[in-house]
């Protein structure tokens, strides 16, 4: 293996710093950019006296500091155009159901035809809950249950309450009834916030198959982690809910 000269090491260090500065940029774009800069350096070095350390440092200075280049790259990415439909979609998903159920379907169409949301967000918007908050209402009707008492009433007096039976959520402890009720209402609202959040912060980069590229990704690396945690908690609650209602 060829031994690295001082100049090689300076270049390697520069490229490492550049990769580091580009961590917030879409990975495939960052890789392509580093390859371009690497090629640029190779082309420029062809005209330099080998081993001229000062010339190498001047060359890298002319190319620009890694931080400055990373900022430039972020600014150059074409921002996603947010259409009126994209803005309306999260609201339609949550409240559209109340417009004769029709609005929710319009929202669903907007959600699935938009390039703004990742597949997981589209599934989230569809599953929790079908119909949005109207879906919550139907879930209450379907699962809240009822208490049926069979008795014989005579002259306004209950002579004998022969049997009482509970169905649905009412068989569950009160605390759990409250919890499931809360989840049923909170979940579609969370979905709406989540869709709005992605809308507000995301760029969509066509070259990035996984979907969303984040604008201020240095900060949102943390945001993403916290979103994942919320996701997992929500998924567990929904799972819990279905298991108990089904049981």
């Amino acid at each position: 293996m060829k031994e690295l000269t001082t100049s090689d090491r300076i270049v390697e260090e520069y490229l490492d710093n550049l990769r580091d500065a580009l961590r917030s940029v879409n990975p495939s774009r960052a890789k392509e950019f580093v390859a371009e800069i690497k090629q640029h350096i190779a082309d420029a070095r062809a005209n330099l006296v080998p081993g001229d350390e000062v010339a190498i440092r001047n060359l890298l200075e002319r190319i620009g500091s890694p931080i400055a280049l990373a900022n430039e790259l972020e600014e150059t990415e074409t921002p996603r155009t947010v259409g009126g439909m994209d803005r309306a979609t999260p609201w339609l998903i949550a409240f559209g159901g109340f417009a004769f159920g029709f609005g929710w379907f319009v929202g669903l169409y907007g959600l699935w035809t938009s390039k703004t949301w990742h597949i997981w967000d589209k599934l989230l918007g569809t599953i929790i809950w079908p119909g949005g908050l109207l879906g919550t209402f139907y879930l209450f009707v379907a699962f809240a249950g009822s208490e049926n008492c069979h008795g014989v009433s005579r002259l306004g007096q209950v002579v004998a309450a022969l049997s009482c039976s509970s169905q649905g959520l009412l068989v569950l402890p009160r605390a759990f009834q409250f919890l499931t009720g809360f989840v049923m209402v909170a979940a579609p609202i969370f979905t709406m916030f989540r869709l709005n959040e992605v809308l507000a912060r995301g760029y969509v980069d066509e070259s990035n198959r996984r979907g969303i590229r984040l604008v201020k990704s240095r900060r949102s690396a943390r945001t993403r982690t916290s979103t994942h945690v919320v996701w997992i908690i929500l998924a567990l609650m929904v799972l819990f809910f279905y298991i108990f209602v089904a049981a």
Binding site: Q39, H40, D43, G64, S65
Partner: protein, 114 residues
């Protein structure tokens, strides 16, 4: 606007104008990245850091004003060449017309008020 904002303004103007300078460079022949940056940095005040030309080339490509192809190089690995597209030519032509008028108007006012 404050006078201290001149640097920022120039940076923005530079960024906007360079795109068309790149298109103009590609009118005569297809070029690879290093060639383009070398031509641009030979002109004074145009490029502050050469590396910033690459994001710009990507944007031109995304906007369909240039397209690219790879070509073998006699020295080293294959190179990505940039070629102006018909819509790039149209964009350049319209910029040249508007730029001339803009420059003349600004120059006229500035020379009057000096």
């Amino acid at each position: 606007m404050v006078v201290g904002g001149t640097d920022k303004l120039l940076a923005q103007m530079r960024r906007g104008a360079i795109e068309y300078c790149v298109l103009a460079l590609l009118m005569s022949k297809d070029r690879y990245g290093f060639e383009i940056t070398r031509e641009l940095s030979a002109a004074n005040e145009l490029v502050t850091s050469e590396g910033t030309v690459y994001p710009l080339l990507t944007r031109l490509r995304n906007d369909g004003l240039v397209d690219t192809y790879w070509q073998e190089s006699t020295e080293g690995p294959p190179r990505r060449y940039y070629r102006i597209t018909p819509s790039g030519k149209r964009a350049l032509k319209s910029f040249i017309d508007q730029w001339a008028r803009f420059r003349d108007s600004v120059d006229t006012i500035l020379s009057k008020e000096r």
